[in-house]
Amino acid sequence: MKRVRRSQVEIEGKLRERTEVVEEDPSPPWDDRARLRVAGRPHPRLDGRAKASGAAIYTQDVGLPGMLHARILRSPHACARVLSVDASAALALDGVRAVLTQENAAAIPWYGGTTRLLERTVRYAGDEVAVVAAEDEETAEDALHLIRVRYARRRPVLDPGTAPRGGKPSVYTRGNARKAVSGAPVVVAGSYRTPAALHQAFETHGSVARWEGEHLTVWDSTQHIFGVRKELAAALGLPLHRVRVISTFMGGGFGAKNECGKYTVFAALLARRTGRPVRCLLTRAEESLAAGCRHATVQTLRLGARRDGRLLGIEHRSLCDVGAYGTDGPMPVGGPARTLYRCAAVRTEEVPVRTNTGPHTAFRAPGYVEGTFALERAMDRVAEACGLDPLEVRLRNYSPGDPRGFRYTRKGLRECYRIGAARIGWRRRARLGRRGTSLRGLGLASQVWPAGGAPPSHAVVKVNPDATAEVLIGTQDIGTGTRTVLAQIAAEELSLRARDVTVLLGDTGAGPYSLLSAGSLTTASAGPAVRAAARDARQQLEELATGLARGKGGRPGPREVCREIGDAMVIGRGARGPNPEGLKACSFGAHFAEVEVDAETGEVRIVRYVAVHEVGRVVNPLTASSQVEGGVLMGIGFALLERRIEDPATGRGIAVDLLDYKLPTALDLPPIEVLFVPGADPRATTIGAKGLGEPPIIAAPAAIANAVAHAVGADLPELPLTPDRVLEAIARGRRAP
């Protein structure tokens, strides 16, 4: 039975009120006493062989008979008016089939209606100006050079410090923070900056579009097939049932593929115009310029504490450079300040500012990575000011519930601290010091992230005559292992092996709606839906067994029932139930880093790393540990290497390839230990699991910065911690009394 209620959901760290249609799920939660055979045990990816043999087909690999190739012409100027676009020479080139420009493309509203698909004003270097479809990629590329565009350039705004507001600030208060901080005996104040960072998923953004009469099929590298369907249908004025979006395999997203891209609409428009399938893929340079970023922040933070380290007030303000168009407002940079510690007086403010740079998007724990860096850096300074150990200060401010006035389903952060401190040997911290030019430091950071998932998510389970099963669900596997985890859950409920279950996902034409794969939502949303559907199927099988038993004597087992009923197969359906009222489900973690800093070169080497997480039940320890390893390495990249750079005068992207935009390599991986706090969280979801996609990146930059600060004896106000900044901090550390 479906019913309607008002409820609060927290997705990607943003709390929203919404009307929810909920369907109760009667499944009794799998708690710690549940004896599970498949869920909760390591299982190799069910699609591992498809990936390792080269057979897995990604959007980039989709080739259709007669397919054309589209390439996009982008503005070289960060701010300009497009006076005219002359595509005649391009159209005359042999092999060119169509060119879209502002003159002939439909005026489709884009970026929340702030601009259109192709507009007369370009607002960042990389903004779309025209699109060519040609017989092959090279011809399309050649044609771009033949398009004559006249621009009237304007001076771009590039410095977030002086940029205009880009929308309403988002303000949160409890108590009187200003008064509490000003009156506190210990006050720590600081300004912290984080750079714009790029997702750099290995498969670039792209789509292939094909029309069959009135029906449009799109292959898209996306984190949200149903979201793309909705946006695409709206852009083209089509009813939903005529649009099908497929993403069978996709090569990484990290938040940049949550929405429908312009390239998808271009492919669909050009395919309609030419009567041929059209593929539109971004190059790596376009990926770096125009496919989203983690927005840069300038944060100012004041903490007031008692002399025993207990917090009295937190004031946090962040300028968030949302770029030229960022439509989702600023990311929740104040989230950690609002929820990580017990503190009665807190004020946070996220102020969006608009510059002529590429639009921002979500990027793995948006806001929280940046906010945790500033807050945890400042907490170490409170510890120092009070003469306390950093871990002790965190324990003294431990908040068992969400300090905004909610209870948690479970909070295992204290165990994370305990386990991690023991593994890394935290007690050695005081003894670490300088040996020749080598400075050693040990740092830790804490992490909170809303990760309980949410409705709606629906699933269908078909049980075959041979007692194998198929799960149909409109979610997608973005590389995290969703296929495998959902198969394990269905197998558990149906008493099968995971490899007796096939999960069909990534196709709006095949599975019912499920949420986007972002916000650490997927396992905690799609998982319970699949369990409910499998449970429905099992109950039907049990009823049939009773019926069949009457005629026969013995009661047949499920396998016999399946055989007996044959093609009159059992079909189960289920939906993700509502979240518990008044309770918040979050994932927690604590990271510990030991670093060695070279006092002469400023180079940072991570000697050891321990990551401990509490995410309720770990459904698949194998895929979970690779989530953590990859998340930590991505955090190391953000801490030490990565930043998007523009020419400060023109706003043109400088580091638009992988040589200049530094990603961590195999050589940057430190010895890392991944640990989980045991036990389920049955109040969060019926499978006892919470989300894990984002937590591993959140604490990493903060833990590393704290370790480096400990080594050099000075604060580190800006990421990444490049050698020049570290050397400068060492010099400051020496001057300090």
Binding site: R45, S53, E135, T665
Partner: protein
């Protein structure tokens, strides 16, 4: 429904520009291609031969995603001109398995979770294959060095090392089999 790229018939590449006819040896088979003279080996494999297992990540020689083997040595196919590789033995990920029997590296990559999104996996597999052919018992350090030119944004590399180590152990035990 044709989801995989259908290999295109050799056609005159692009209007006015001349096409070249090449005889390439790919995964133990002779393949004739008619293609544009400036096509990279990566594009020839993917677009002309329909071998989409080889992926592109940057097309500038910076990520290793497009790695294939030429006479057993890893090269970046995005930087290689197809015309220069006539008569050489080219191996792509599709050529690693022996019929239905996967190469030990492919097995351990699948079993140990070394492929997350899997996009970088073919490149790693071929780099690792070349390494193990040269050094059947590489140390962790040698694996790190050998793989340092291949980037991965998902895994954190640890499971990739483990998969290479385990494949090496299996190959030593079982003797050479599979692959070409």
């Amino acid at each position: 429904m044709p989801e995989a790229r259908t290999p295109k018939k050799p056609r005159r590449a692009r209007g006015t520009k001349s096409a070249v006819h090449l005889l390439l040896r790919v995964n133990g088979e002779d393949r004739e291609v008619t293609t544009a003279p400036h096509r990279t080996l990566l594009e020839t494999l993917r677009e002309d031969l329909g071998l989409t297992g080889t992926k592109h990540g940057c097309e500038l020689g910076e990520c290793g995603t497009c790695t294939v083997l030429v006479d057993g040595q890893p090269i970046l196919s995005c930087l290689a001109l197809s015309a220069d590789y006539e008569g050489r033995e080219i191996t792509t990920v599709e050529g690693m398995a022996d019929g239905a029997q996967l190469h030990p590296l492919q097995e351990t990559f699948a079993d140990l979770g070394a492929a997350q999104c899997g996009y970088c996996t073919p490149g790693f597999l071929l780099t690792a294959k070349a390494l193990l052919e040269e050094k059947p018992s590489p140390s962790r350090e040698e694996i790190r060095e050998a793989l340092a030119g291949n980037l991965c944004r998902c895994t954190g590399y640890l499971k990739i090392y483990e998969a290479v180590e385990q494949a090496a152990a299996r190959m030593r035990e079982e003797g050479p089999r599979g692959g070409r």
